[in-house]
């Protein structure tokens, strides 16, 4: 781990929503190195989205230190640089897709980074092709299905060519086919990422390192637990899988 560059370093981060009784994030430490892929298993309301928003500078922590790419960040200006290198996939694709057509939405990031129109279109087409969405260019964003929206929003983040991806519950509302496609896409990416989900199976399929988030903190559970499921249901004799 020592030869790897430290990308994200959170120390003692604490955050409480105004009016809330408890801290959502409570004295949390997180070190994230280049090239690593970690999964965070987190139940609803455990502060996972808050954590990502703190890393991106969308929320200001009440206490703690944030260091990203070796630099301490605290002001909006610092975070503007962070956002160019870290891509966040939002939980709700409708929040992310705001342009009328798919191509425009994917090109929005590159254009903001100062790329020319031609370059932006070129990058966007390549990104869409990588995700198998080549014929989506002229589609209208709000007329896409849930799964298509998710993949297109992934494209909008990838087109910024980030060094790190943060994925917030990427499997919400996905059908099996799109889920598989997403797993495949993530595994073939040459990117470091943190993925948060409450689905163990998905996290296990995309991240070699798994942590658990609970009570506003992150834990590492390395111990293997042997466990057996006994279950009963109709047609149980038929070969089947549980998703």
């Amino acid at each position: 781990m020592n030869n790897k560059q430290q990308i994200i370093n959170l120390e003692g981060i604490t955050f409480r929503y105004p009016g809330a009784r408890e801290n959502v994030i409570d004295n949390l430490d997180l070190k994230f190195f280049s090239g690593s892929r970690i999964g965070l298993i987190a139940p609803n309301g455990s502060g996972k989205t808050t954590l990502f928003h703190i890393i991106m500078g969308l929320l200001k922590p009440d206490a703690g230190r944030i260091e990203i790419f070796g630099q301490p960040v605290s002001r909006e200006k610092d975070f503007e640089k962070v956002r160019r290198r870290i891509g966040l996939l939002f939980q709700d694709a409708d929040d992310q897709l705001f342009s009328p057509t798919v191509l425009e939405d994917v090109a929005f990031g590159p254009l903001n980074l100062g790329k020319s129109k031609e370059e932006a279109i070129d990058i966007s087409r390549k990104t869409l092709a990588f995700l198998g969405l080549s014929d989506f260019e002229e589609r209208i964003t709000f007329k896409l299905s849930g799964g298509e929206k998710r993949l297109v929003s992934l494209a909008t983040v990838l087109s910024m060519e980030p060094e790190v991806l943060l994925l917030d519950e990427p499997t919400t509302g996905l059908d099996n086919h799109t889920r598989e496609k997403l797993i495949e896409a993530l595994n073939s990416l040459d990117l470091a990422y943190i993925v948060i989900s409450h689905e163990y199976d998905f996290v296990n399929a995309v991240a070699p390192e798994i942590y658990k988030m609970e009570n506003g903190q992150i834990f590492h559970d390395e111990e293997l637990q042997i466990h057996i499921h006994e279950h009963v249901h109709r047609y149980g004799r038929e070969p089947h899988k549980h998703g």
Binding site: Q96, P100, K117, E138
Partner: protein, 251 residues
């Protein structure tokens, strides 16, 4: 919600540059609206019908849209002939229909129908997205264009949220009646919709910040230009000039 029954097609009109169509629809509307002579107005109506038929728009959809104006026109016909002062045309007891009133009502009817038809033929035959981009290319300010496109984008999301809320109300046995409970429920529904729209707006803004948004929008123009534009421009210009000549007796 917003339907675009005419937006996609493959007739002549669809091959024209959207900017050309917008410009001529606007110019034609102004000329028609400012004309008062019946031969000119009827010519304008005739041209608008001709344009709609070149687009081969479905007659039923066209009539459905015209119907909206008919109510307005009915109101005009009910009020103007009775209230406008001037030479009486017909007298039925205490009620007098005046000649200038009837003329005025007829002018308004022809003008509004002609303008509506032209807009159906030239503007409704493009998607809202294309319309936005074309307006941008016609030097309409960025902010206005993006306001329009964003509204168009999120009106569907807000509609979905409205439907979800309304289903939630319905499955718990709500029936709209004229009482305090119903009014209160509707007020909550609308209030909730505003709250959700505003939190949604906040999240969209955050997502935009994450993608490096700095207050500037960019439009990718993807226009296909074809050679047919020139003929259309020429014909339409001649028609409009003729209308103006007819109106002001310039010959």
């Amino acid at each position: 919600m917003i339907e675009e029954p005419f937006a996609v097609g493959n007739t002549y009109i669809y091959t024209l540059d959207p900017r050309v169509r917008i410009v001529f629809a606007v110019v034609f509307s102004f000329v028609t609206a400012l004309s008062n002579r019946f031969p000119v107005l009827i010519a304008a109506l005739f041209i608008s019908i001709l344009l709609v038929s070149t687009g081969r728009l479905k007659v039923r959809d066209v009539l459905k849209r015209l119907f909206v104006v008919f109510w307005f026109l009915l109101l005009i016909w009910a009020i103007l002939p009775l209230t406008f002062e001037g030479e009486p045309l017909y007298q039925a007891g205490p009620i007098t229909f005046t000649r200038p009133g009837v003329i005025m009502a007829a002018q308004i009817s022809i003008k509004s129908t002609a303008i509506l038809l032209v807009f159906m033929a030239l503007i409704a035959t493009m998607t809202v997205v294309t319309l936005g981009h074309s307006l941008n290319r016609l030097y309409v300010p960025d902010k206005l264009v993006h306001l329009m496109l964003m509204t168009y984008r999120y009106i569907f999301v807000i509609e979905q949220e409205y439907r979800r809320l309304f289903t939630a109300i319905k499955i718990r046995g709500f029936r709209s009646k004229t009482n305090m409970h119903s009014y209160k429920t509707y007020a909550y529904l609308i209030g909730m919709l505003f709250v959700r729209a505003s939190t949604r707006a906040e999240r969209v803004h955050q997502a935009m910040l994450c993608r490096g948004f700095r207050g500037r929008f960019y439009t990718l123009d993807i226009f296909k230009s074809t050679g047919r534009n020139q003929t259309f421009v020429l014909v339409m210009t001649i028609i409009i000039v003729c209308l103006i000549i007819g109106e002001y007796n310039l010959l």
